[in-house]
């Protein structure tokens, strides 16, 4: 029990690309919940959620790349 509580007591040290990789499960959760509310047949949810997840990730990477290019142009 104390081991379980200790898991939630102190945070973990995040370094390097792990920080960006943590957006993947969060986007997946958003895609699953949203598509579960939208799809009438639950069998459609996995593929629909996968499609939305890929769309979100590609969209966020595109926005990040665009902002980075803008930043590089401005300095």
């Amino acid at each position: 029990m104390s081991l379980l509580l200790g898991l939630f007591t102190t945070g973990i040290a995040l370094t390097g690309p792990v920080r960006l990789a943590l957006m993947l499960p969060l986007c997946l959760a958003i895609a699953v919940v949203y598509k579960t509310t939208r799809c009438e047949d639950l069998r459609q949810v996995p593929m629909a959620a996968l499609g939305l997840w890929i769309t979100i990730v590609i969209g966020m990477c595109a926005v990040g790349l665009g902002l980075w290019l803008l930043f590089m142009l401005m300095i």
Binding site: T9, G11, L14, R19, L22, A29, C39
Partner: protein
């Protein structure tokens, strides 16, 4: 002027009561509103996804750096949408936080040891709360739809009928 039978009026009243009960249950435990309305598989998906997202965030950022109404009040409002999850996390936070120094209360301000992890944890828990807000609205919509005699998992858009 039409007169309704007592059994029909009671059935309508029971149907009207389903929406607030479903909304409250959906707030208290993510997915419970849908399970109450009979959408068991859908409710279980919401329960697992939102609860896992919330507690993953708490594990990443630590409960003291993540669920903190004083330092992150707006995020705490978003987190509160997950109901019992946030109340449990906040109770845990209060239980492990030492009592403030009566001489200098400013010493009680908590600075997370890993600020980046705390930021990620706050985003996870806040997004879990906003997702549960979506689920609560969906449960309210389905409860109203069912009270009108609908049986589908998704009400038709306006103008489709």
């Amino acid at each position: 002027m039409t007169e309704r039978s007592p059994s029909l009026a009671a059935a309508n009243e029971a149907a009207l009561m389903r929406a607030p009960i479903a909304g409250f249950l959906a707030w208290l435990v993510p997915g419970l509103g849908h399970i109450f309305l009979g959408y068991r598989a859908r409710g279980l998906i919401f329960l697992v996804t939102i609860t896992a997202t919330f507690w993953t965030g708490v594990a990443i950022g630590g409960v003291r750096g993540t669920v903190d109404p004083r330092e992150r009040s707006l995020w705490f409002v978003a987190q509160l949408c997950t109901g019992a999850n946030t109340l449990a996390a906040y109770g845990f936070n209060r239980a492990i936080t030492p009592a403030p120094d009566p001489v200098d209360p400013s010493q009680a301000r908590f600075v997370p040891p890993h600020w980046m992890a705390a930021e990620v944890g706050v985003h996870y828990t806040g997004v879990a709360g906003l997702l549960n807000m979506l689920v609560i609205l969906n449960a309210l919509t389905l409860a109203e739809f069912r009270s009108r005699g609908g049986s589908s998992a998704r009400p038709p858009p306006k103008g489709a009928q």
